[in-house]
Each structure stands twice: as structure tokens, then as C-alpha cells.
Symmetry: C2
Subunit: 276 residues, 2 copies
């Protein structure tokens, strides 16, 4: 079988690495940190939370960069809130914002409203002029349940975009066949996904030391230290640590070099997806 | 003619003062500062920007306080954005957020969409459990054009709420007859309004030194100094100055005392409005 690396024009044993930043647009703090991670030539891709207050301002500062849509169906923080783009009553907590947990979403959301809201977010990103490179799922609801995954896959096909995909072991844990379904649908995704909590430097270091041939995606949640970040995000210190890992030396970049990794973005996968 | 002061149960020559904080819910910084201004027993009323990211979190911290709805039809900052609650395409800038200026709003907004959005904001505030005491208009579009003022007045009647009203000289400047129309409609509003830019300590000091009998409303835009405030609000220093004016000694409270003012909120006006 021809590997993804080969299809991308590399030898089969090449180690290709996507260094992805999540939560672009969620706060000013995230926007600043992700910009610095790109400027440090460490981050190669990011995904935008379209419904958030700082999303549209990221458009200009990330022009031409590898940016996808971080499909957003939750607003997890207590005080700092964002709302769906569409009316979507089933996606809303009593205060009108998105529900705070994936469980609460899954328990109440109407699938047509999920599909409509996700499509609206992608269309809004295109309207803003973003050359959307891929799709992923904020907090994972679209990736971890079969009926939601169908929508995720449907949108990937509709917009001819590659997807983030959880690893094979997590698929087993949730009883999913996402990779198989995506392959059957001709939707491209990285070979390996390094699952890591916010601030999981150790997990990423470990994965980079044992980096396998093929395309691996690691993802981080960098943010700079601000009053608002501290007040709104209980995990702020881990986000600040992710920023340091991406922008300080020696950090992720040095580790990737030691691993012999070649950095790429999702744009290369999208090119393949579109048969270019 | 019986004066408003008399209708409120005071002698006709009583100087009554509403010390109002605008922009509650707009930022965490505003929420913290306004809470401190209430705690200092200086601020007596505030109004909430329902569509903003920090609005719903203000509900719990201002339970029982004198809080109205700061009807919001603009999102004036470059990078930090908020959107209508309703679909309302005519109220939106190209990025989907509210238009940045009153001019742009007036040039494009459909009046039915204005009415629908304002009504949705008031209803959302009630749904959150806020005992809404009054209405006012963020950046003033509802107060400064006759067709918009009709909606403002209609909502006051529908929800039996008192209104902020611009002063007589500003009415003349805009060719409006708002006070006359409101009186005819039986809608209550303070006698005097001290128009002041953000951070206009001097204008407010002057007004308090010459405080007239009857009900005067002064309004401020307090915010505490944070990275996000500085990054999003070019007028941040004036907002921080408003906070100091409200919470430091000698400040607004001492001036009000020297003027012999009695502090009240909009709740007293609402009681009258509702014939209680």
C-alpha cells in the first residue's frame, strides 16, 4: 500500500510532523502566543474558533498561514462565554452560550443543528477570506461518537478538506471506526495523533523521541500570560507552558530536529485531498 | 406641575443623583470595576451589554443590584467583537459582528431587525433572572434619531421601564422631541442628563457643583487596568480614571455629598413607572 508520506512525495520512512496550535481566536492571549509560535518557525498549523470574540481579528494577522476551522460546539469556561452562529436552541446552555461539556452537548443536541452550525462556521471562515486548510473539533465531540463523526466526515467531503483524526487506541476505546470510514470516503488525515492534555510537554517529548515514519500531528494550546487568561481559564499555567515549549530554546523545535522530523502543515494534505 | 422629585416622595428642591456605570458585561475588567464602584457605595445603577462575552457572568455578581439593559447595536472595537443575538443581517459588519459606528448602523439597519434584536436582549436579561430596572442605549443610536427613538419608547412601554434620556440641548442639536414624546407616552426618565465622554471627571465635577433640583443622571465607564483592556480599548486609560473617580477618596462620592445630593437608582423610577 502506498503510504501517505509517499503520496506527499517523500520516502516511505520519512518522519513528517504537523505542530498544531488549537484555540486560535478564543482569546487575545491565544492569538498573540500562536503568532509567536509561527514566527519562531515551530508551529506549522492552527485552527480558528470562529464563534469567539477574538476570531475575526486573527484573520489579518494569520493571512497566508496554514489555518483550519476548529469546529466549536462547546464554550467550556464558567464566566467567559461564546454563542453559536446559528439559532440552534439545542446547542445552547440556559444562558444562551454553548453548553460547557461534551456530555451535555451529546445529551441535548439536535444533529441537524450540529451540522448547520458547523457548516456556518466553515462558511464564515471562508467569508473572512481564510484559505481554510483543514477541520478539527474543539474538545472532540465530532470525533468521538459515530453519529457526530458522520457529520464531521460529511463536512470534510463537502469542503474537500483533510481532518484531524484521533489515534487508533482512542478509536477502540470509543468503539469507533473513524479511520476506516474516512479511508473509505477518500478523506485524508495524518497517520498518527499524539493525544495530550493542555500543557503536556512530557507526552509530546516522549512522542517525538519515538516518532514513527509517516505524518504525525501534535497539538498544543499556547497562550501568553494575561490577567484575562488567568481569570477565565483555570488551566492558564499549562497554556503559558505550551507557549514556552513552542517559543523557547531548547524546546519543541530542537526536539523535532533531533527526531529527524520534517515539519509540514495541513495544506500539503489538502493539496493531496484535492488531487493537486 | 408636580415634579419627578415630588412624585418620588421628596421635596421639589431635592437634588437626586443616579450614578450610573455603563458597559457592564463588556469585559471582565468592566465587571470588576463596576462591582467595586457598587461596593464603595458610589455607583447606584449599571446597565448590561447582553450580547457580550462577559455578560452572563455578571448576573450572579450583581444579583439584587439596580441593573438595566444597555441596548447594544454596535461593537466599536477593532479586534474584540460581539454579535447580535438574533440573525439580523442588516445589523452586522462584514465579519458578522455588530457594525462599529452609529453612522454605519443608521445607514444599513432594518428597523424591524433593530426592534427584534433589542427585544431579544431584554428578554435574555429577564431569562437570566435580572430584575431589569431601566433601558439605555450603547453609543446612543436609539436616542438620537426619531425612528429609532420610537422603538426605544415602544420597548419602554412594553416592559414598563424608565429610560435614559439625552439632555434638552442635545435633543435640539439632533432635532428630536424625545422628552415630549416620552412624557406624552407616560414613560419616566431622569430630569437631567450629564453628557460626558469616557473619563470626563472634569465635566462631572462641574455638573455636581452646579447640581440642580430634581433627578440627574451621571454616567461613567469604569474598568480596571488589565492587559486585555489595554489591547482592546484605545480609551482604556480614561476607563481606569473613571474607576478611580468612583472608588478613591476624595472622589465622586465626596462631591455628591458636598452638593447635598441624595443617591438613588433607576429602581425608584421604575416603581413610579409601574404605579407602585
Amino acid at each position: 500500500m502506498v503510504t501517505l508520506a509517499e503520496r506527499l512525495g517523500f520516502a516511505a520512512d520519512t518522519r513528517l510532523l504537523i505542530v498544531h496550535c488549537d484555540d486560535l481566536g478564543s482569546t487575545r492571549s491565544a492569538n498573540v502566543a500562536i503568532r509567536e509560535a509561527f514566527d519562531a518557525s515551530t508551529a506549522t498549523s492552527a485552527s480558528l474558533m470562529v464563534p469567539c470574540p477574538w476570531a475575526s481579528s486573527a484573520v489579518a494577522t494569520f493571512a497566508g498561514e496554514d489555518v483550519g476551522v476548529h469546529l466549536t460546539l462547546n464554550a467550556e469556561w464558567e464566566a467567559y462565554r461564546w454563542r453559536p452562529l446559528t439559532p440552534a436552541p439545542s446547542l445552547r446552555a440556559p444562558d444562551g452560550g454553548f453548553r460547557r461539556t461534551v456530555d451535555d452537548l451529546w445529551a441535548h443536541a439536535d444533529l441537524d443543528e450540529v451540522r448547520g452550525e458547523c457548516r456556518a462556521q466553515i462558511k464564515q471562515a471562508f467569508t473572512w477570506g481564510i484559505d481554510v486548510t483543514h477541520l478539527d473539533s474543539h474538545m472532540g465531540p465530532l470525533q468521538l461518537r459515530a453519529d457526530y463523526f458522520e457529520i464531521y466526515l460529511e463536512l470534510a467531503r463537502e469542503f474537500a478538506l483533510p481532518l484531524r483524526m484521533v489515534g487508533a487506541s482512542m478509536e477502540r476505546a470509543f468503539g469507533l471506526a473513524g479511520r476506516k470510514l474516512a479511508r473509505a470516503a477518500g478523506v485524508i488525515f495524518p497517520d498518527h495523533f499524539v493525544y495530550a492534555d493542555v500543557g503536556s510537554r512530557t507526552a509530546i517529548e516522549h512522542a517525538l523521541r519515538e516518532l514513527r515514519p509517516g505524518v504525525t500531528e501534535v497539538y498544543l494550546h499556547p497562550a501568553v500570560d494575561t490577567d484575562e487568561l488567568r481569570a477565565s481559564h483555570p488551566d492558564w499555567a499549562n497554556r503559558v507552558a505550551d507557549h514556552a515549549f513552542l517559543t523557547s530554546e531548547p524546546g519543541l523545535r530542537a526536539l523535532a530536529e533531533s527526531a529527524g522530523a520534517r515539519l509540514i502543515g495541513f495544506r500539503e494534505l489538502r493539496q493531496l485531498q484535492r488531487g493537486a
